[in-house]
């Protein structure tokens, strides 16, 4: 018995040691980022690392707002993210309701069209898409990014999978009560699908906020840029302003971190179900 418990103790210790090591590998870059964001450029690389700066330079966090138009970048990204997420939720859940609960001609064929394009990487058709948007006069407009992101097949697919799990009898009963399909969608399906909507919200939010190649192609005018490409431009222009770069990076991370921590549960569920369903 004695031996057994000592054995399990050793295992537990090794387990924890491994986990802490992994957690450190995951977290240290972020800690280093925050630490460097509070230093003078010349102190960023002192070795051994001074994790807590003796003279924290909070000014870095003031200077970045004037060195680059970070406020504009954040406003642009927030605007795009909110519009895209809203459109995505609205149109996906709307279309998914018809695919899951209504009978109509060509339903299966249309849905197959959606599913087939999930496997098609955006990078394959980004060039003709750009040419097309340019001919519509949408180059250098936020509308291009909205159109690019708002109508994804993934959203329709995810919502449809969820609606399929809602019993048909629920809709039937509502129809007999004389509710229109629009009211059934709005008053029965939408409230029921909060978990799926939350999953889609967090995926769309994180994707749009962090999107890089889309804005890189379409937004070249300074006043239109998003945080990601704005930050990238700053990094390539002022490559040795280490403290400022790190401060701007910390600012760019904050919104996603807040959304992630508050909706984390749904994110984990979403990844897990996507994984199981294949």
């Amino acid at each position: 018995m004695q031996v057994q418990s000592r054995y399990t103790k050793t295992i537990a210790t090794i387990l924890y040691a491994l986990l802490i090591l992994c957690a450190l590998a995951m977290l240290l870059p972020f800690v280093w980022m925050i630490s460097a964001s509070l230093k003078l450029d010349k102190d960023v690389f002192t070795f051994p690392i001074e994790w807590i700066p003796s003279n924290p330079r909070w000014e870095n966090y003031l200077e970045i707002w004037t060195t680059i138009p970070l406020g504009t970048f954040i406003r642009n990204t927030a605007k795009l993210t909110v519009i895209v997420t809203f459109l995505q939720l609205l149109t996906s859940s709307f279309a998914a309701y018809a695919f899951a609960k209504l009978e109509f001609k060509g339903r299966d064929l249309l849905f197959l069209g959606y599913v087939a394009t999930i496997a098609m990487p955006w990078q394959v058709y980004m060039v003709p898409q750009f040419i097309m948007m340019r001919s519509f006069g949408l180059n250098n407009t936020h509308l291009a990014i909205i159109f690019l992101q708002a109508f994804s097949a993934f959203g329709v697919f995810l919502m449809k999978q969820f609606y399929m799990s809602v019993p048909d009898e629920l809709c039937e009963a509502a129809r007999i009560d004389g509710m229109s399909e629009y009211r059934i969608w709005a008053q029965i399906m939408l409230p029921l699908s909060k978990p799926a909507l939350s999953t889609l919200t967090i995926f769309t939010f994180v994707n749009t906020w962090n999107d890089f190649l889309g804005p890189l192609l379409y937004l070249t005018r300074m006043e239109l840029k998003t945080v990601q490409i704005g930050l990238r431009m700053f990094i390539s222009q002022y490559s040795s302003e280490y403290g400022l770069i790190m401060a701007a990076s910390v600012v760019a991370l904050i919104p996603v971190v807040i959304v992630f921590l508050s909706l984390q549960k749904f994110f984990v569920q979403g990844v897990a179900t996507a994984g199981l369903k294949g």
Binding site: M26, Q129, G278
Partner: protein, 292 residues
Amino acid sequence: MSSKQAHIRKQLVAYSFIAPNFIGFAIFTLVPIVFAVALAFLHWDGSNPIEWAGLANFRDLLDDDQFKAALKNTIVYTAGTVPLTLITSLLLAVLLNQGIKGRNFFRTVSFFPYVASLVAVAAVWNMIFNPSKGPVNMLLYSLGFENVPGWAADKDWAMMTIILFSVWKYMGYYMIIYLAGLQGINPELYEAANLDGTNAWQRFRYVTVPQLSATTFFVMVMLTIQCFKVYDIVYMVTQGGPGTATLVLVYDIYNKAFISWNLGSASAVAMVLFALVLIVTLIQFRGERKLR
């Protein structure tokens, strides 16, 4: 008559649900996809008249050193990233599944690199792995190493740097999928294995790994497709260099389309990328049928 009208009405209602999403989807996804396939058989610079090219764009790729390097690098990147991410995410999931204290904290932490914006984390990585003054090389120097790697700046290490970065960024995501898979394993299997007097490694090898084969297959497919599409990580860490050491397919598409405005040949490369993804997707379909 009225029943026919009711039927038509029903259909129209259904279409009205689909329409907002479908119109956007058709214009901004379906049309460009068809356009992309057509473009691969044309010569076009985006402004002058379009010319028919037949298979010339594809034939030109055979002698195109940029393309050949990109194809090779994409495969090397995939071959390095997929197994490493797979193993680390599986091990992490098994560790986290032991019912230990602080499990949620560790799970959140390992998910962080995945949600964090790439530009920001790539900026930190570039500094931490700075060849001449970054903390990683400083640590290696202080441990007595003399020939420290040049990481992103060294053509022999650049690909390795990108693979390491990708593993770090993605493993939390796939760990979640593995965790879900682990929770689906019947605990009785472990009890039976315990009665047989097996040790932890044997239980992992003969119960966990085979029980997770469907999950592993799925993770492998997802990871492979993700690796084929890599672009932004490369753009931010090495810009495809040094030389062509980390030039990948999407980078080549971008260069051909938006630097040299050779849209036909960019689309031909895109078709190669699509073919790669399609092959993996077909393997997935067949494999899933087999596993069921």
